[in-house]
Amino acid sequence: MAACHVVQQPNPYPGGKTVALVGNPNVGKSVLFHRLTGQYVMVSNYPGTTVEVSQGKLRKLEGVTLIDTPGVIGFPSRSEDEQVTERVLFNHDLRTVIQVGDAKNLRRTLHLTIQLAEMGLPLILALNMMDEARMRGLEIRTEVMERVFGIPIIQTVATRGSGIAEVERAIQAAKPVKLEIQYPAAIEQAIQKIEQMEFDSPVSKRAFSLLWFGQDPVCQKWVEENTPKSIRDELIKVRQDLIEKYPEGVDLILQASRENFIEKLVHDSLRQAKSSISNATRLGHLTIHPVWGIPILLAVLYAMYWFVGVFGAGTLVGLLEEKLFGELINPWLIALSEKAIPWEIVRNFLVGEYGLWTMGVTYALALLLPIVLTFFIAFGILEDSGYLPRVAVLSNRLFSTIGLNGQAVLPMVLGLGCVTMATMTTRILNRPRDRILVTLLLALAIPCSAQLGVVLGMLAAISFSAALIWVGVIFLVLMLVGWLASKVLPGERTPLIVELPPLRMPVFTNVIFKTLARLEWYIKEAVPLFLLGTIILFVLDTVHLLPALIETLKPVVTGWLGLPAEAASALLMGFLRRDFAATGFFVMQSQGHLSDLQALVSITTITLFIPCIASVFMMVKERGWKIGLGMVAFILPFSILVGGLLMRLLSSLGWGS
């Protein structure tokens, strides 16, 4: 029988400087973070939005830092993002932990509450999404739970700001709890043995023991780094004895005890009135329907294509680049500089062929900004709707042919926004093998927003068959390389297990915030690189090295890829950012310097090129320098190889002539 007692202790860190938000994935931690600090962090409607901690200053508590953490399904942690959160609990002297829970999934929330309370942390529980719980006819009474856990429980609706003031008050008053659920005797004895050992545990010894029995990776690492061998051997022995006693898994036993404990609590605290199925739920089911799912997916893709490719890359770019920059600003600036600047070299540096303004700023602001803007808006709406995890279900079979499961679709789709960020999102994948595979495919074959927009614009200017060929080649490469890599990498495929969040109406302000945050990032990260690239080109051109370089690259650019020799300078910029190269081709195409075949070959090659310098750094950071640089060494020649092969195949078929 699960019994428990609660001991309240004085807060060991009353003057502590950090408070952490912890909870299951997709329950509103980041929304609450925004409410409590005023600092925006990414919020989306799928599990795995936050994969790294963010810090901000609490509004109502001077000098105290709030940490937003990635969601945890439960401990022991399984994926890298969960481990990030666990390390926060292990390594920070936390003044308070705010658990954010989904009120409509009370049992699930309480499983985590138990684990956090066992750790002996000063805890409060924010039962969020009360609006959705009420809509579904759930009525929650918190008194019994508050008494049993000895913690304040506050009902909140983070998106509307209700309950926030109460959370702020509770943060100040929080005291550590020591919840003890009774586990079977053998486990209790093992815990006692560990409690008698002499070492300083990062969380309560009881919680530590339970994590240790479950072979938690963070706990494992902590033991390796912080305990002498004698203690370690003892710990291992205690665990080994337990594992022999419970061959079906110690975790199963722990979970069963907790479930038993929770069942009684929920019985006293939760009433379910009526339960009717809402329209959003019905639509949600339709989106994964074996028949209706596909047309819905195609409609969503088409809407994206129309908004970004036709409206953004066509209409908006036309207005900005041709009308505003091409006819007004740039001619005016050129005329002005001719009058005001006597030195030709300075004039060229600013408004020449490789001018800082005429190339760098014009590319970044007139061509790419409208494209990324429309993309970010469309993407933000898609993210907030909750549709993306459903694409994981639809695409699961496809991914299984390359040894992955549908979960991989999330980082890949995010890669369409920004490959660098998406590389970090591979943390949500459970196994190293999957993370490596997805990182490679992301770097190789997923075009990022800016580039995608340019590519769509170029394809629209050629023909629909060109678009089909481009999609087909990228898709084939994705499948082929994925298939080969999955054969080379050891390990088996894991089946898909994924949570489907409810479909929600996107929150307008969130889409705006998110778009602005991404634009800011784009301007900070991409624009300086554009300027740098322009300066490099200008210098190379001025010292007459560029013609020599172009000449050197001619065998590859002209001989193998069949492009005009000048395309080399665009290709060179691909080393900084491939969207820069794509923009170069875009300009060449619109000036009539590229035939249809050449345009198609150039964009296919550049799509398969390394994404950008930042992404290479991220690959090295997440995967280690060996794997990271190994991937770069593969991708560079491979992209050129595919481009040349495509050129030969298409011209032998007489395509485009």
């Binding site: 399904i73 439960g74 699930r108 719980a133 759930l138 199963l252 994964i288 639809l394």
Partner: protein
Amino acid sequence: MFHHRRRQRCARGFEANNHCLALCQVAPGREVKIREMERLHPPFRGHLQAYGLLPGRCVRVITQEPITVIQVEQMELAFEKSVAEGILVEPVND
């Protein structure tokens, strides 16, 4: 050993024995109670249990195609057939 074989038979021949069937065999719309998950590969079992898929819980099957989707509390959880095969359930009468 015997134990194991008996369980497998139970999973396949659910029509003969209406008290025990594999989750992948349950028709959409029906509510069932989880009986045991011991046949599942431990990491997958741990993953599902962290979502609250525990023996004794009642869940509702939403669909079986293209993969199994069930409702646990108010959450929808999707997983492949190969996983659903390893979960034994019993019908809930209501």
